[in-house]
């Protein structure tokens, strides 16, 4: 029953996003921009999978996933900027004549990809090590990671850090020689994002089913009991924190060439809470929920901001409150409850007719 249920989700998902949407574009119903927008949502969904791992499965509310996401984006963005000019425009304006040392490695694509994953992972390891070692958990963890994101946001806003300041990095032309404005390239990026999302989902699925995943869920339910049974909870938490950071970074890397701009606004306090909210809304502790939540909230965002821009924050705020108060398990939980209700009704009617 349960596997059937899941495969229905998978079939629907693949049917819509791998066949229906591209077909819609090829037959001329959907513009390439719509396709590209969904490509971006997939990147958010990849990051959301990471959040679900660390929050939904391990019970650690990390508010710095947006920061890791941006690290991935900024890395690729630096590479793309260097593809265009030897010295970025804003540095010329700031009267800087030589490329800062930390920009140098981003000249090479392979090095960029490695760094985009290595830096977030290393930072996550460092932050996680310090925080988990001192047994910071729960709300304390949330507040400190939130403050960390705030501090990083402030640093990225500065001009003298040479990361583009408030305007961020934008105006990219080519990636590995492919023109980013080209329809074919956009479609390819869409499919790459889709594939990576599917792979990430499968990987996370395996993790949650493995013994490692079971320990994570045990930590969520009662950390002290897990440690009483001689598990080193710090190591498990550290590992999942690094994995989540990696997923966020990968999402950020794929996100950038499809939007063509990255600003520090992607990782301000608002953005980092919102990312958590995708998972809460879809259903935490459930990987499908994380993906659905990320896709749905972002889809709602683009619909609402174009139809009634003033009310988007009202809708989002209302969704926050309603979800937390009434749909503890998110949309997925809602579907399951409804299904159970209907099933019960069906059973009852069947019994009465009998």
């Amino acid at each position: 029953m349960k596997t059937n249920n899941s495969s229905l989700y998978y079939i629907l998902f693949i049917a819509i996003f791998a066949i229906l949407l591209p077909a819609g574009h090829l037959s001329g119903f959907l513009s390439i921009n719509t396709i590209s927008i969904w490509g971006r949502y997939f990147c958010f969904a990849i990051a959301a999978l990471g959040i679900d791992l660390i929050w939904g499965y391990t019970g650690i509310l990390s508010m710095c996933q947006a920061f890791f996401f941006c690290l991935g984006s900024y890395g690729i963005a630096m590479h793309l900027v260097l593809q265009k000019t030897a010295l970025p425009d804003f540095m010329v304006w700031n009267k800087i004549t030589t490329l800062p040392f930390f920009w140098q490695p981003f000249n090479s694509f392979s090095l960029t990809v490695i760094l985009c994953m290595l830096i977030p992972a290393a930072l996550a390891f460092l932050i996680g090590f310090v925080l988990f070692k001192s047994r910071i958990k729960g709300v304390y963890m949330a507040i400190i990671t939130q403050a960390l994101t705030l501090a990083m946001w402030l640093i990225f806003l500065r001009n003298e850090t040479n990361l583009g300041g408030t305007n961020g990095l934008t105006d990219f032309k080519t990636l590995l020689g492919f023109d980013l404005a080209n329809t074919q390239v956009k479609l390819a990026l869409y499919f790459i994002s889709f594939t990576v999302l599917c792979l990430a989902y499968m990987a996370c699925h395996r993790i949650t089913r493995s013994k490692f995943g079971k320990v994570l869920q045990a930590i969520r339910d009662s950390e002290s009991r897990v440690s009483y049974t001689a598990y080193h909870t710090v190591n498990f938490k550290l590992a999942v924190f690094v994995v989540a950071a990696l997923l966020a970074a990968v999402g950020g890397m794929l996100y950038l060439p499809q939007t063509g701009i990255i600003t520090p606004g992607r990782m301000d306090v608002k953005a980092s809470v919102e990312m958590v909210m995708w998972v809460a809304l879809g259903g935490r502790g459930n990987l499908k929920g994380a993906v659905i939540g990320a896709l749905l909230v972002n889809f709602l965002y683009s619909v609402c901001t174009s139809w009634f821009p003033d009310s988007w924050l009202f809708i989002l705020g209302f969704l926050f409150v309603i979800t937390v108060l009434y749909f503890d398990k998110g949309l997925i939980g809602l579907v399951t409850t409804l299904r159970a209700r209907i099933g019960n009704l069906y059973l009852k009617t069947a019994q009465t007719t009998n």
């Binding site: 001192s134 507040i143 939130q146 403050a147 990083m152 640093i155 003033d310 009202f314 705020g317 503890d328």
Partner: protein, 544 residues
């Protein structure tokens, strides 16, 4: 022959009159200036007045320079800088003496510009005044202008200028202007001093007077203009002393800013900490209650826009507490009471509420509004030269001290406080013993939100009122709560002050942003040793 003799007599008389009584000749030129027969006569008259440099004519020249010279019943008058009532100006006579004009019943005379006759002086003539502009600006009623004028004085060797300067300084009333004036005087005397003892005495006077460029002046004197090396060294040494004293005062100023920032953080974090300790609720909308308090103040200012002076602020203090508290109560009834002891869930839900409140404020009030500082709190206390402690910040510190004291009394000396502490310690046990935990939680929420509202009212003194003002403080105040230990009054105070001081001190070394990062790293390291904050609960309690 007869004619030329007569002319010669007149000329002689005129010369005698000019030489003996310059005052009278100035009145002649003033008359020529106000009622010129021709443009050249007026130009000549202005030229003479500039050359004579008689203080009695300065108000008149100032009025010309400001293009505010008018005639009323053949008197030369000028107007106030701003209309005092419905485009009507107060009038002042500028020659032969200066005094405000009154009407027959003794009230200040108010007239509109159309009732006055403008005296037009062409620009070329006004430019003639430029060289002595600093001189007549010394007589300006505006202290700021006088301060500028002291700085612009040239040809200090001229005895007439020295006399005017001495005269003005002796009448000076403004603190800052007096310091600069004295410095100019001392500088003249120092440069003309003929022996070592006098020179040193004047160096001491300059150092004691200590105006803005005292150390620059002494350094310049010491490196060239002094008449022997002894005085030169003395001057340079004094200059260095001033510099180091100045640095120390800057440090004090910095600590003071830290104290006031810390006070604001305490005021916000106080409510946050009590609520979190009691109900286990992380209220991300707490900053929005601050915003509500600030907007309450703004609304009351709007209501009081017609006069009543500072009353609007005095009334907004309790009102901002009540309005924010009531909003908190409503929020507690609607949403938060479902979320007790679920900190992470409450964090998300209250963040949603914060979004709604911010957007509501933006739709109602727009993006930027400001509350004007009450007269009473404008300016600052001049604790020492170069050390001004603004009254509004002193007020915020005092307000925080009072609120902390009241909170302490409430928590530790009243029955309500006892119940709050009981519920904080053990909710179930308190309920078993007959404490109405729900009611206590609601009251606590009211007080906590009210404190935030009060903080918002205080913040209008030092910043603009914007819809998302709460979000700039919320993360910092959570850091205060976390560092201090949840629900601990003493912890909140110590960590609030600590973070406030630390922010300002690190800002002195790094830039503001890096200071913030530094603090964060510090807190993370600190939590290694004290994961439960500064004042953790005593005893060994296993979690869960």
């Amino acid at each position: 022959m007869k004619n030329s003799l007569k002319f010669g007599w007149i000329l002689l008389l005129l010369l005698v009159a000019m030489a003996s009584r310059a005052q009278d000749s100035s009145s002649l030129y003033v008359a020529q200036l106000l009622h010129p027969q021709s443009d050249s006569v007026r130009t000549h008259a202005i030229g003479r007045l500039v050359a004579l440099r008689i203080p009695a004519t300065f108000p008149l020249l100032m009025a010309i320079n400001d293009k505010k010279l008018y005639l009323l019943d053949n008197q030369a008058i000028t107007i106030d800088g701003k209309p005092s009532d419905e485009e009507k100006y107060r009038l002042h006579r500028v020659y032969p003496d200066t005094r405000p004009l009154h009407n027959s019943s003794g009230d200040p005379l108010l007239l509109s510009l159309s009732q006055l006759k403008t005296v037009d002086i062409p620009r070329a003539d006004r430019l003639l005044l430029l060289p002595i502009a600093p001189l007549f600006n010394l007589y300006s009623p505006d202290a700021q202008k006088r301060i500028q004028a002291y700085g612009q004085l040239t040809d200090l060797q001229d005895p007439q200028v020295q006399k005017i300067l001495a005269d003005v300084v002796s009448k000076e009333t403004d603190y800052n202007a007096l310091r600069i004036g004295k410095e100019s005087l001392y500088a003249i005397q120092l440069h003309t001093a003929k022996n070592e003892a006098t020179a040193k005495a004047y160096i001491d006077s300059i150092a004691r007077n200590w105006s803005d460029n005292a150390s620059a002046l002494l350094t310049a004197y010491g490196s060239g203009k002094a008449f022997n090396t002894n005085t030169a060294n003395y001057a340079i040494e004094k200059a260095k002393q001033l510099e180091s004293k100045y640095d120390n005062l800057q440090r004090i100023q910095n600590l003071f800013s830290g104290l006031s920032l810390g006070s604001i953080l305490i005021l916000i974090a106080l409510g946050l900490s009590i609520v979190y300790g009691l109900a286990g609720v992380i209220n991300m909308a707490h900053g929005e209650f601050m915003m509500i308090g600030a907007y309450t103040t703004y609304c009351i200012q709007m209501l009081f826009s017609r006069g009543y002076g500072d009353w609007f602020f005095i009334i907004s203090l309790p009102l901002s507490f009540i309005v924010a508290g009531l909003m908190g109560l409503i929020l507690e009834r609607l949403v938060i009471r479902h979320l007790y002891s679920k900190p992470l869930e409450s964090l998300l839900a209250t963040w949603g509420i914060s979004l709604i409140l911010v957007q509501t404020a933006r739709l109602i009030f727009g993006d930027l509004t400001a509350v004007k500082t009450p007269q009473l709190l404008a300016g600052g206390w001049q604790a020492a030269p170069h050390l001004t402690l603004p009254y509004n910040r002193i007020f915020i510190i005092a307000l925080t001290a009072v609120m902390v004291l009241l909170t302490y009394l409430m928590l530790f000396k009243t029955k309500l406080g006892l119940q709050i502490r009981a519920v904080t310690q053990n909710r179930q046990m308190s309920a078993c013993l007959g404490v109405e935990t729900r009611r206590i939680a609601a009251v606590t929420f009211f007080i906590g939100s009210g404190l935030a509202g009060l903080a918002g009212c205080a913040i209008t003194l030092i910043g603009n009122v914007v819809p998302d003002m709460g979000q700039t403080y919320i993360v910092d105040s959570f850091l205060v709560v976390v560092t201090g230990g949840v629900g601990k009054l003493a912890g909140t105070i110590v960590s609030g002050l600590g973070i406030g001081f630390f922010t300002k001190i690190s800002e002195a070394f790094f830039q503001a942003v890096y200071g913030k990062v530094f603090i964060l790293l510090f807190i993370m390291l600190f939590m290694q040793y004290k994961p439960k904050g500064l004042f953790p609960d005593k005893g060994r309690i296993a979690e869960e």
